[in-house]
């Protein structure tokens, strides 16, 4: 019964839905939810999944491939070229350092040098799936930490090709031919010497670039012309599958190929279409991948030698963390960025599964050695999100906020301290206007690159999560007069406004919101100074349109003022009845209903509900009436 495809699908989907929603409710990363679901449905707890877990793992690796394709789409070729130093530098230090240390460690433990080398290679690689998924989920991709982590992972993707290529050299020559038959990913390259392999790699990269420019984009244009939407989905899959196939053929990592394909297509007009098409599939496949990892944790092996495994696991994580910290140190990352990098890449990644089983098939590793290493790999991946939480909630709050440069403030700024949260397009305009009046706001922002730049410009800037009370405190919330919340993330605004209202009620809050629904939430929390970014700009645009078709500007200006006043009143009225909550399914319908109500009310008001100022007609009429009476 467990073999039935439908049953498997049900088990996986139900496991994911239940565990991920619980994890999210607890404020944890979805990765933890998936891993937990995997452990639950795996062979050692509920036993829904047995041996087939490994096949699923292999299949689900497509999620990683798609993820890299999507990441590639977001990276401009120019930026990619600029990253080359970081990729080679950071990646080189990390892989080299980790391999060296783990080689020493396992040599000391008395393993053969071949075994030690294989294990060191496996350990040096981190999990792209877990690290990138977490980074994207938290929106940290544009930070220094995000690009550093990504560079290292990309380097590993490249280096793994050479590792797989070098593996047969470690085996006894007599076994090589036999082993090649066992090899699941048999390819053209194994028989080639290393020099030619490099050449093959370079030429296949060139093939992908040419393919992207001259075949894929014209194909997508043709597909788009047909106007059949599902064809575009099919085309998107064709691209990813096709690239993976070519890559596997020449023995390259499909993920790396997909990434390059993405970079090539990032300048095309189909960028967003491809993104939105593949995104949901990628997420589901990655979920499946994490579940398969969870299911593959062999609890029998753990039970046999818990101390050895526990000790090795701890040693490996510490070792990787140490090397990562040093790497970050060499590249002069800020302390908080360093810690994030250290803890997010300290696991052994999915490539280890491939390397270890390949080495096993080449008779380099024994069954027991492989089992132990596989368990350690899976466990270290499962531990990553937990370590990250520890880092974020316990360690980071103690560091990272102390790195601000104090700047002498002028008199006004001193006695009227203003804190500005978020320095994106909206916040920066606010900050610039304040600065043009000699008012220097203290800025909090989550983008460390921007923070560096602003510091150079002489702003007092704090890097970090403004929903942390200690960060607000070190920015001087206690002496502040006003705090401007200019982020567009409603959850952040809500969290900040709650903290400020509870702990520093004397500080005035001025809050930007994206739309009226976010405004409702803040109004219902008792905040008054709410600025909807969608209000005044759209009215300015609308009155410009009306002006172009003949309306007079001053009349329009006054109508805009009236409209805003009317809309603010209706906003406050509707906020009281609007109980949206978190139920997303009903949200859209509710919003539509309200839109309808607003439009209805507008209609009842009439087209122009205008006053009589500068309009003498009513005076004329009134005088006529009184004259006829007399």
């Amino acid at each position: 019964m467990t073999g039935s495809l439908l049953f498997m699908a049900i088990v996986f989907l139900a496991g994911a839905i239940i565990c991920v929603s619980i994890a999210k409710r607890l404020g944890l990363s979805s990765v933890i939810g998936y891993l937990l679901a995997g452990i639950l449905i795996g062979p050692y707890v509920l036993g829904f999944i047995g041996e087939e877990g490994d096949d699923i793992l292999h299949f689900a690796e497509f999620g990683v491939v798609m993820m890299l394709f999507l990441i590639g789409l977001e990276i401009d070729p120019k930026n990619f070229w600029n990253m080359r130093k970081t990729i080679i530098g950071m990646g080189g230090i990390q892989v080299g350092g980790t391999m060296l240390l783990s080689f020493l460690l396992f040599s000391l433990l008395g393993f053969d040098w071949e075994v030690t080398l294989v294990i060191s290679m496996a350990i040096a690689l981190s999990s792209t799936a877990i690290a990138m998924q977490t980074i994207k989920e938290k929106g940290l991709m544009p930070t220094t930490f995000g690009t550093s982590a990504f560079s290292i992972l990309l380097f590993q993707d490249i280096i793994v090709i050479f590792m797989i290529g070098a593996m047969p050299l470690l085996a006894n020559t007599g076994n090589t031919t036999e082993a090649n038959n066992h090899n699941t990913s048999a390819n053209l390259m194994d028989s080639l010497p290393l020099g030619l392999q490099t050449l093959a790699i370079i030429s296949s990269v060139a093939v992908i670039i040419v393919l992207g420019r001259f075949i894929i984009v014209p194909m997508l244009r043709k597909v788009a012309k047909t106007g059949v939407r599902e064809l575009l989905i099919a085309a998107a899959f064709l691209i990813v599958f096709g690239i993976s196939f070519i890559m596997e053929l020449v023995g390259l990592s499909p993920a790396l190929g997909a990434f390059l394909g993405g970079v090539v297509l990032s300048n095309s007009e189909f960028k967003h279409e491809l993104e939105s098409t593949l995104e949901p599939f990628k997420n589901l496949l990655l979920g499946l991948f994490f579940m398969a990892v969870g299911a593959s944790i062999n609890f029998i092996v753990i039970a046999k030698s818990p101390l050895t495994i526990g000790g090795l696991l701890l040693a490996i994580i510490l070792l990787k963390a140490l090397v990562l910290y040093i790497t970050a140190q060499v590249f002069k990352l800020k302390l908080d960025q360093k810690l994030l990098l250290t803890f997010s890449l300290a696991q052994v990644g999915e490539f280890a599964f491939v390397l270890l089983s390949f080495a096993f098939s080449l008779h380099i590793l024994e069954q027991e050695q492989m089992d132990i290493m596989l368990v350690i790999t899976a466990l270290s991946m499962a531990l990553t999100p937990i370590i990250s939480i520890l880092n974020e909630r316990v360690i980071l709050p103690k560091v990272g906020t102390k790195q601000s440069i104090k700047r002498p403030m002028d008199h006004i700024a001193k006695s009227h301290k203003i804190i500005l949260v978020g320095f994106g397009h909206f916040g920066s305009t606010v900050g610039r206007f304040l600065r043009s009046h000699g008012i220097e706001a203290t800025i909090l922002d989550q983008d460390s690159n921007r923070v560096d730049f602003l510091r150079k410009m002489g702003f007092e800037v704090y890097y970090g999560d403004a929903t942390r009370i200690d960060l607000l405190e070190s920015a001087g919330i206690a002496e502040a007069k006003i705090i401007i919340v200019a982020t567009n993330k409603i959850n952040v605004s809500k969290a900040i406004s709650k903290i400020v209202k509870d702990k520093y009620p004397h500080v005035e809050m001025v809050i930007r919101t994206k739309n009226r629904y976010d405004a409702y939430e803040l109004l219902n929390l008792g905040h008054e100074n709410i600025y909807r970014e969608s209000l005044e700009t759209s009215l300015a645009l609308a009155s410009e349109v009306l002006h172009k078709i003949g309306f007079r500007k001053y009349t329009l200006k006054r109508q805009v003022k009236n409209f805003i006043k009317y809309d603010e009143t209706s906003l406050r009225r509707l906020a009281k009845t609007s109980k949206r909550g978190d139920d997303y399914i009903f949200k859209a319908r509710k919003e539509l209903q309200e839109q309808e109500e607003l439009l209805g009310a507008d209609f009842k008001r009439g087209i122009v509900d205008f006053d009589k100022h500068w309009d003498s007609e009513h005076i004329r009429k009134a005088l006529e009436n009184s004259n006829t009476k007399m």
Binding site: R558, K561, D611, H613, W614, I619, A622, S626
Partner: protein
């Protein structure tokens, strides 16, 4: 005690020594409302019902403003245009302001001497203020001669201090009740004997 509403208009108060001095001196007086138009309506979008309610609640209206180009700043003219509505302030049914007292309190850069037929301004302040006088008349209000601080480009802080004291005294006198008989055809309310500073 009579309630006084000061309709104050200055587009750049932070740079006006004279007006800051005057307005700060009378701020906080009992039964005196200082209504700063450029603070209330920076976008010239005047809330008419609110203004009319304010006017109805007071007995004496003082239009306090610098005397720009022989008249008031634009927002005050906007205020007159919008607030003094037909059939509310004037017209057959417009009796809301009847029997209230109205006057201008102005500051001029030029001295008193240049405001006469022989001076380079050709006309007197009284003549220039005719439109305000008539506006007040049409609304059924009693128009008092203006309080004027003249020659602000050149007067010393001491002289300004004296003006400030008499402005305060004027407010007090108006609250206890002045009548037209007290002026005997004076051009400026500054000149009544009660306000003479020794």
């Amino acid at each position: 005690m009579k309630k006084i509403l000061i309709i104050f208009s200055h587009p750049k108060l932070e740079k006006s020594r004279a007006n800051r001095t005057l307005i700060e001196h009378i701020r906080g007086k009992d039964q005196v409302t200082i209504h700063d138009l450029y603070e209330e309506y920076p976008d010239f979008h005047i809330d008419v019902p609110r203004e009319q309610k304010l006017l109805e609640e007071h007995d004496i209206i003082i239009w306090h403003h610098p005397f720009y180009w022989y008249s008031c700043p634009p927002l005050m003219k906007q205020w007159i245009d919008m607030v003094l509505e037909f059939n509310w302030a004037y017209g057959p049914k417009g009796k809301a302001l009847h029997n209230k007292i109205c006057l201008n309190a102005i500051t001029t850069g030029g001295s008193k001497e240049v405001y006469c037929s022989a001076g380079y301004n050709s006309f007197t302040v009284e003549q220039f203020l005719r439109p305000f006088e008539q506006t007040s008349n049409l609304c059924g209000m009693t128009y008092f001669p203006p309080f004027a601080v003249m020659g602000t480009h050149s007067i010393s802080d001491d002289v300004l201090h004296n003006y400030k004291i008499s402005y305060g005294k004027l407010i007090d006198l108006l609250q206890t009740g002045l009548s037209l008989q007290d002026f005997k055809k004076l051009s400026f309310i500054n000149d009544i004997p009660q306000l003479k500073t020794s």
